[in-house]
Every structure is written in structure tokens, then in C-alpha cells.
């Protein structure tokens, strides 16, 4: 068997973009994986192969190509079921991404289930995609949106949850499994236990977790789960919403149109079976195929190995970054409670200025509010710099990042 170390050494060869240089021939050091990941040849080729050899619309036509396209599309559903441990493939709905998945729930589940005076609970470290759909819904329904607060260590204050649950008015608790800014891994088990005891359904935003660790939905026991393909080596524009069947059966359709119907008459329509009731129109077939390849690729490496590799990188990065004078890392330093996402500020230098200066060294880090302005307010900062890792990153990447901060220090006379 291949050792883990050599396994990860060989991975870079699969990613053509990592072979290119940027800005005056600097090798690309890509550290914006919480935003989106690069794609291996296996994924790129599967999409090309689909268009070159199998392209047809799915589910209806009887000819050979349509059968192949349908098979390619539907086989990804089975791969997803295995990947996140779901027994029933009918519970898996293809959407554009996590954002669309959460909006789908807010619309198709939220509208018939949320009433005036009800409470929806989210957290202070959510991405805007797990805040704004709930603001829209609660405003429309005259319901309330409440937040589980975050302590200075970047962890949720679960006493807040108890307080809201005690009102008896909470209809949904929604939270990310890993913060896209701090990397904090949420104590989902405890939250779900509390919610189950109170009879309250839970939604998990898995966009940051699914790409980086083994996720087992059967063990988690939530009611809704969403994630995106492009953050896990797959193409943009494809994501997954999983909903427990008993809940899915109480939901209205999201979009009306082709493929989601059983019979359409002039003034009434009956719906197609699950999950097709929620997949109106010709779906993003090619990218579903690409997502299937991404899952194959990650399965081959093994999600436990992925997590192990990122723990190693994160530990190294925290150690090296902590040695930089004036650099402040946000969130917990307990590696077991965080993923490979490190947000930091460097003295009084604005993150945009940090990002621009180190871009000259070929380093891609994100700067800004990371679509988490509620969290920025809580941290009392306008923005942070964020480095986030994936399977193809190395300790060399981190060394280059740390060295580049010397240039920032020089320019800003720190």
C-alpha cells in the first residue's frame, strides 16, 4: 500500500493549473480552497468525455445516448449516497450549490411551515447563504431570526440554543458544520441532540465540511443537509441538497416546469416522484458527471487521509504564522476542533493590502469579509486575510506564504 505522504506528493500532477506560473513566473501557490478548489484532470476529462461521447437529455428519450446520459447522471446520485452515507437515493436533490439548496428549503419547506411568531435559529459564524434566506422568510412571515452566539475562541455558545429552544417557538435550527472563516468544526452532535429532544428539525450547511472530512449523515441525524461540488474538486454550478424523506414529503415544489411533473392539465398538475419533483427543467448533467468523478477521486484518497493531511498542514501553518510578529490568528488553536482554514490579520495592515502584496509572489489568499459580515461584526474587524488548504497543498506553500509576509512588513514598515 502507498504511504500517505507519497500519496499526497503525487496528487499535484493531476492538477494542470498547479503547473502554471503567475505574476512574473512565480509558481502558483493556491490557498483559497475555502472559496473554491482546483480541478484534477480526472474531473476535467469526465466532463469533456460526457460532451464528446454521451451528451443527450436525460430521463425521457429511448435512444442509446439518452440512456448513457441518464446512467451517468443517476450514477452520481448513488456515489453521493455512499459518500455521505444515505440509504435512500430519492432523498438526494441536485441543485446549483449550497446557496440554492438553502434557498430551496427556505422556500419549499419554510413557506408552508413557518408562521407568525415562530423562531428560526442560526449562528453568528454563518455564511450569508445561511442568513439571508432566513431573513427573507422570517420577514415575510413575521417570524423571528435568532443567533447562537460565538465565544472568543470561535466556538458556539450552546447555552443560547437552550434559551431559544425553551421558548417552544423554534421551528428550525440551521448551522454550518465548519465555519468558512475560522475553520471551527461545529459540535453538531450536541446541537442535534438538543433539537431532537425539543422536536425541532435541523439544517446543516456542509459546504466547508464535506470536502475535508468524513461526513456520515446517518450518524449525524439532521433533517436537511447541503453542500457544493466546486469546493470538493468538482465543477461550479452543481451542489446537493439532502432532505429526510418524511420531511421532503411535506414540502412544496421549488421550481415548476418540465421533469418535476406527473401529469399537467390546464388548471392543475400532479407532481413527479422524489427527488424529481424538486429537479425542474433540464439539469446540469455534465457537471453532475464531473461531481461524480470528484467523488471517485476523493474516495480513492480516503476522506480520513484528506483530514489527516489538512490537520498536518494546519498545525504547521499555525505554528509558523504564530512566529510572525504582529500577526493575529482568529479562532481556536485546538486542531481537533478546526479545519484547514486560517483567518488572520497582520498588524494594522488591511487584508486587501496584504493580499495584493503577496499576490506578487504568486500566492492566492482571500481577503475581505468572506460573505460573513455578521461574524466580522462579532470579531470587530472589517475584514481578514484567509488561507485555506486542500489535498494538493504542501508545507512549501505555507513557507512561501510566511516568507511573503516579510515583504508586507517591509512595505508597511512594521
Amino acid at each position: 500500500m502507498q504511504s500517505t505522504e507519497s500519496l499526497f506528493e503525487n496528487i499535484r500532477k493531476d492538477f494542470p493549473i498547479l503547473q502554471r506560473t503567475v505574476r512574473d513566473n512565480k509558481p502558483l501557490v493556491y490557498l483559497d480552497n475555502a472559496s473554491t478548489t482546483q480541478k484534477p484532470n480526472q474531473v476535467i476529462n469526465s466532463i469533456t468525455d460526457y460532451y464528446q461521447n454521451h451528451n443527450a437529455n436525460i430521463h425521457r428519450a429511448v435512444y442509446a445516448l439518452a440512456e448513457e446520459a441518464t446512467e451517468a447522471y443517476e450514477s452520481t446520485r448513488d456515489k453521493i449516497a455512499n459518500f455521505i452515507n444515505i440509504k435512500d437515493r430519492q432523498e438526494i436533490i441536485f441543485v446549483r450549490g449550497t446557496t440554492e439548496a438553502i434557498n430551496l428549503v427556505a422556500y419549499a419547506w419554510g413557506r408552508p411551515h413557518i408562521n407568525e411568531g415562530d423562531i428560526i435559529v442560526t449562528t453568528e459564524y454563518e455564511h450569508h447563504s445561511n442568513i439571508v434566506p432566513w431573513q427573507l422568510l422570517t420577514q415575510e412571515k413575521r417570524a423571528k431570526l435568532e443567533y447562537i452566539g460565538m465565544d472568543d475562541n470561535g466556538e458556539l455558545i450552546l447555552d443560547d440554543l437552550d434559551k431559544y429552544l425553551a421558548t417552544g417557538k423554534v421551528k428550525l435550527v440551521t448551522f454550518s458544520l465548519m465555519s468558512n472563516v475560522l475553520g471551527t468544526i461545529t459540535d453538531a452532535k450536541t446541537i442535534i441532540e438538543k433539537c431532537k429532544a425539543a422536536g425541532v428539525p435541523t439544517l446543516i450547511d456542509g459546504a466547508q465540511a464535506v470536502p475535508h472530512m468524513k461526513v456520515d449523515l446517518e450518524k449525524l441525524g439532521c433533517d436537511f443537509f447541503a453542500f457544493s461540488g466546486h469546493k470538493m474538486l468538482g465543477p461550479t454550478g452543481i451542489g446537493v441538497l439532502w432532505v429526510k424523506k418524511s420531511v421532503l414529503e411535506t414540502m412544496n415544489p421549488f421550481h415548476g416546469g418540465g421533469d418535476m411533473i406527473r401529469e399537467v392539465h390546464k388548471y392543475e398538475t400532479t407532481w413527479n416522484d422524489l427527488p424529481y419533483k424538486f429537479e425542474a427543467g433540464t439539469p446540469n448533467i455534465a457537471d453532475v458527471v464531473g461531481l461524480g468523478s470528484a467523488i471517485d477521486y476523493l474516495t480513492k484518497i480516503g476522506m480520513d487521509n484528506v483530514r489527516e493531511h489538512e490537520i498536518e498542514l494546519t498545525r504547521y501553518a499555525i505554528e509558523k504564522l504564530s512566529e510572525v510578529k504582529g500577526l493575529h490568528i482568529y479562532g481556536t488553536t485546538d486542531i481537533s476542533k478546526r479545519g484547514g482554514v486560517i483567518s488572520f490579520n497582520f498588524a494594522d495592515v488591511h487584508p486587501h493590502d496584504v493580499a495584493q502584496i503577496i499576490d506578487e509572489e504568486g500566492i492566492a489568499v482571500r481577503s475581505g469579509h468572506h460573505c460573513a459580515q455578521v461574524l466580522m461584526e462579532r470579531l470587530n474587524v472589517a475584514a481578514t486575510s484567509r488561507a485555506s488548504f486542500y489535498i494538493y497543498n504542501t508545507k512549501d506553500d505555507i513557507d512561501i506564504l510566511v516568507n511573503s509576509l516579510n515583504t508586507v512588513a517591509k512595505v508597511f514598515k512594521l
Binding site: R23, D24, D348, V349, H350, P351, H352, D353, Q356, I357, D359, E360, S367, G368, H369, Q373, M376, A382, A383, T407, V411, F412, K413
Partner: protein
């Protein structure tokens, strides 16, 4: 070709560390706030206007070095100008002062946020206080389409 990092010359760094005209004016005649949604830069401008002349101007907010330096330069340029002169201030009046004429597209909004806020403050003032408000819409459009 000069590299993008060259924009961080002495003047920009100094202005970002010690911004000029930074603060609030208590008895301002007009104030305006705006922000850049993608990066979170956020600027307020307060102005004191006497007899159609900007007698005092201050800004405050959060932003990168480019944003802070440009806000400093802009307020310096504006102070003492008549309303007509102030509204005639153009992008390059600010950018050239700091050698930022070739700033990449993604950062231009950092440099011009304060100019957008200034133009917005001016149309707000004109709309409220002057008899001839015929140009307000044009000024609004200028502010909206600055970058």
C-alpha cells in the same frame, strides 16, 4: 512593466498610517455614507458648507491603504473649493496625485469610494439646500457610474 505591488509607495503607506482630515464634524451641513459590498471598505464624509463653499471636510471609516490614502487626498483637494468646483473633481485628480492611474480594475473601487461619497454628499446638499436643483440627477448619475 511595474509590478502591482509598486503602488505601495511611501506616500500611500504614510497616508494610510496617518490619514489627513480623518474624523467627524459635529455641526456638519451634510454627511453621507457608502461602502463597497465586495470588500467591505466603508467611508463617511462630513462637510461644513458656508456660502456655497466647502469650508471644512472630514472622513472616517474602514478601508485598505489605497482607500485611506485616496480619501485623504480627496478631502485635501476639496477643502476650500466652491460647490461647483468640488463637483468638477474627477477620478484622475485623485488617482494622479498618488500615481494610481493604472490601478487594476479590482482595486479601483477602493481608490474611488470616497469620491463617490463626496459626489453623493454634494447632491444631497444641493437637493436639500439650493434653489436650483436641476443638476442633482446628473450628479447622482455621476456618483452611481463612477466605477
Amino acid at each position: 512593466m511595474s509590478s502591482n505591488a509598486d503602488i505601495y509607495h511611501e506616500m500611500i503607506v504614510d497616508y494610510s498610517r496617518n490619514p489627513i482630515n480623518y474624523g467627524e464634524i459635529e455641526n456638519h451641513d451634510v454627511t453621507f455614507h457608502d461602502s463597497n459590498p465586495l470588500c467591505g471598505d466603508s467611508i463617511d464624509i462630513d462637510m461644513k458648507i458656508d456660502e456655497n463653499k466647502v469650508t471644512d471636510i472630514k472622513f472616517h471609516g474602514k478601508g485598505c491603504a489605497i482607500c485611506m490614502a485616496c480619501s485623504s487626498v480627496l478631502t485635501e483637494i476639496t477643502k476650500g473649493k466652491s460647490i461647483d468646483e468640488a463637483r468638477a473633481i474627477e477620478k484622475n485628480d485623485v488617482l494622479s496625485e498618488l500615481g494610481l492611474e493604472h490601478l487594476q480594475a479590482v482595486r479601483i473601487k477602493c481608490a474611488l469610494l470616497s469620491l463617490k461619497v463626496l459626489k453623493s454628499a454634494l447632491y444631497t446638499y444641493i437637493g436639500k439646500n439650493l434653489e436650483d436643483t436641476s443638476d442633482v440627477d446628473k450628479l447622482k448619475e455621476e456618483a452611481a457610474n463612477l466605477y
